[in-house]
């Protein structure tokens, strides 16, 4: 178990660097050779973020409220992850995908990294520079930089999501667009539900 953990840790680090520098080749490798154990490290980083986010959201040291918030976030994120994988897989089957569900699930786990980076940075900025932003020069400059940062992460996420469907389901661009057209409205409705019950205002996809 110890040796496996080290090996998964090394594979995770290698894949993380690969997704930053060579996303195409790395995504193909993750889908074909990735191990579910590598996602333990994604889960650990996510758990650290949820602990921090619970503190920021509850804004007081009340163990019961903090634990409840933490469990809510973990449950909501696990459900969203499972739903996304299931939706992409089912929609893929409709258009004749012949990939591997395991590869798709592992690669989609890796695509949570840009989401996590954005949520982590936003939580920290919420503490350091709480909203609302003003229309002063500093406010506008900060807003433009924040949007630039968000945009870069969004496009990185979009690239990784595309590669997940391309290699995980072995689909062409046209079929990927069909899978997205089927899945995104469902994920959109689910996200609205999450927003209504106050878990995530922006979906943690």
């Amino acid at each position: 178990m110890g040796t496996s953990l080290v090996l998964w840790g090394i594979a995770f680090s290698r894949n993380f660097i690969g997704l930053l520098t060579r996303p195409y080749e790395t995504s193909r490798r993750i889908v074909d050779h990735g191990k579910p154990g590598e996602l333990i490290f994604v889960a650990i980083v996510l758990a650290c973020y949820f602990a921090l986010a619970s503190l920021v959201r509850v804004a007081s040291f009340r163990p019961f409220l903090l634990t409840r918030e933490f469990i809510e976030l973990v449950f909501a994120t696990s459900t969203t992850y499972g739903l996304a994988v299931l939706l992409f897989w089912s929609a893929g089957q409709l258009v004749g995908a012949h990939g591997k569900q395991k590869g798709l699930a592992i690669m989609w786990g890796y695509t949570l990294i840009p989401t996590l980076v954005w949520f982590l940075a936003t939580s920290l900025l919420y503490v350091i520079l709480p909203p609302p932003r003003t229309t002063s020069t500093q406010g506008v400059v900060f807003s433009l930089l924040f949007l630039l940062f968000s945009g870069v992460l969004f496009f990185w996420k979009a690239t990784l999501a595309y590669l997940t469907l391309r290699f995980g389901l072995r689909l062409s661009l046209t079929k990927i667009l069909i899978v997205l057209a089927v899945s995104l409205p469902v994920l959109g409705a689910y996200s609205i539900g999450m927003y209504r019950i106050g878990i995530f205002r922006i979906p943690f996809l």
Binding site: E25, R28, T122, S123, P131, L147, G151, F155, T159, R170
Partner: protein
């Protein structure tokens, strides 16, 4: 070439050719030119895309972009 190396090569070749290259009719050269830059070190291109969106938003909304950011900052 040793048998082991050859087998590795064949396996890799099969992996790479398993998925047919993406084509987009007359747009294929543009698609290839774009994706070539996204395959290795995509950051400069991602920054350019994002910059275009931000400039577009600023031209469209002016200082009201601060409202979007205020909403996004409460979004976690």
């Amino acid at each position: 070439m040793t048998t082991g190396t050859y087998q590795k090569f064949v396996k890799r070749w099969e992996e790479v050719t398993d998925l047919p290259p993406q084509t987009l009719g007359p747009l294929t050269p543009y698609y290839k030119a774009l994706t070539r830059r996204l395959k290795v070190m995509p950051w400069p291109l991602l920054v350019i895309f994002s910059l275009l969106v931000v400039v577009g938003l600023y031209v469209l909304l002016g200082s009201a972009v601060t409202l979007i950011v205020s909403l996004l900052q409460r979004g976690f």
